[in-house]
Point group: C2
Chain length 194, copies 2
Amino acid sequence: MIPGPMGKQDYSEKALEILEAAEVRMRRGGFDAVSYRDLAADVGIKSSSVHYHFPQKSELGRAVVERYTDNFLSFLGAPDAPKNSVEDRVRRLCQGYQHALTHDKVPCLCCVLGAESLDLPPVVSEAVSNFFVRLIGWTSTALGDLSGAEDLAKHLISTLQGTMVTALALKQPQLLIDAEPYLVRLVRQERRSP
Amino acid sequence: MIPGPMGKQDYSEKALEILEAAEVRMRRGGFDAVSYRDLAADVGIKSSSVHYHFPQKSELGRAVVERYTDNFLSFLGAPDAPKNSVEDRVRRLCQGYQHALTHDKVPCLCCVLGAESLDLPPVVSEAVSNFFVRLIGWTSTALGDLSGAEDLAKHLISTLQGTMVTALALKQPQLLIDAEPYLVRLVRQERRSP
DNA sequence: GTTTGTCTAACGAACGTTAGATAGATGACC
DNA sequence: GGTCATCTATCTAACGTTCGTTAGACAAAC
């Protein structure tokens, strides 16, 4: 069984509300910043009822990360759509990160969870790892025919992740905008001289 | 009063033990992953005795971050030592990050705390912000005469921060080694054509 | 005698989790 | 159509654990 968008479960409406609330809290403060009582208040039920939808917190965490991964990749679109140039795709990737911070007002989920990987329940840290694997896969494909595309993809993702942390800590969301030309230029010249 | 290495307090031996233990735990799992009871067990006293050295947890957090900042900058050395080239200094910066992950086996402190900035006690998030300000200052100076040195410094720091998160989540510490040539090359060409 | 550092003991709060009751909807069988 | 059983989703109530924090006693050092 291959995990991914195909494995998307059909959550009930209330379960989706819970996932959404949990994502916001998790992106703000990490895995331990989410409590069943807070989630219950967020969606208007009692904490024991939240356990009805997600019995274990670790499974709730995994569900949040997998849903986030699907949504993020869905936002990016196809990595090999012919109508888009390589530079279009890199810019789209940057937009994904910019959107997370400036629109949602909270950092990328896996930016937060990735940093505390060592302390997460294994099932959650595996989901986080899978986020990066899939995102690097998307980027690698988006870069097209290019030797060392995967290494470059890892570098691009890493840069965006870190820029988000710095932008957050310094309260300078502009940093994520400034990063775009650096990355576009890097990709451009890697394609010229591989 | 200007904060920084000059403000270094003279902690007792036991207080230093506590700071060290707290740093390791904080780097592994974030601010909330540190408990007074765990710290007490780490250094062989009771939790109430830890409160004798650091009455409030937020102040303990601030102390840990400030000590970490001083140590990190101390490791980097002078940013304008004439015997070192600009590229030497960039490599030294990369080594600082590599050392954190491969030697200490835990990520950079401010990589973890920066990601959860929104949920930290203000006194701690200010200390984290100050870490980045000082580190960017060091890097900016290290880059020497160069228009846009500060922007480039922010970009370098951000890249290293993010590479650490990705390296951690994917369990590929090699990523931090691979990042070095990217950064050295970027600096080299920015100095050629500013 | 004051200071320094540790201890025991306890406080109220928050945590994840569970058991069991309850109400409403759904569907099967006569 | 009416009855009964099951399923769904919530509730109240509570369990034991951990948390940061505090009060106050105690011993050694200065």
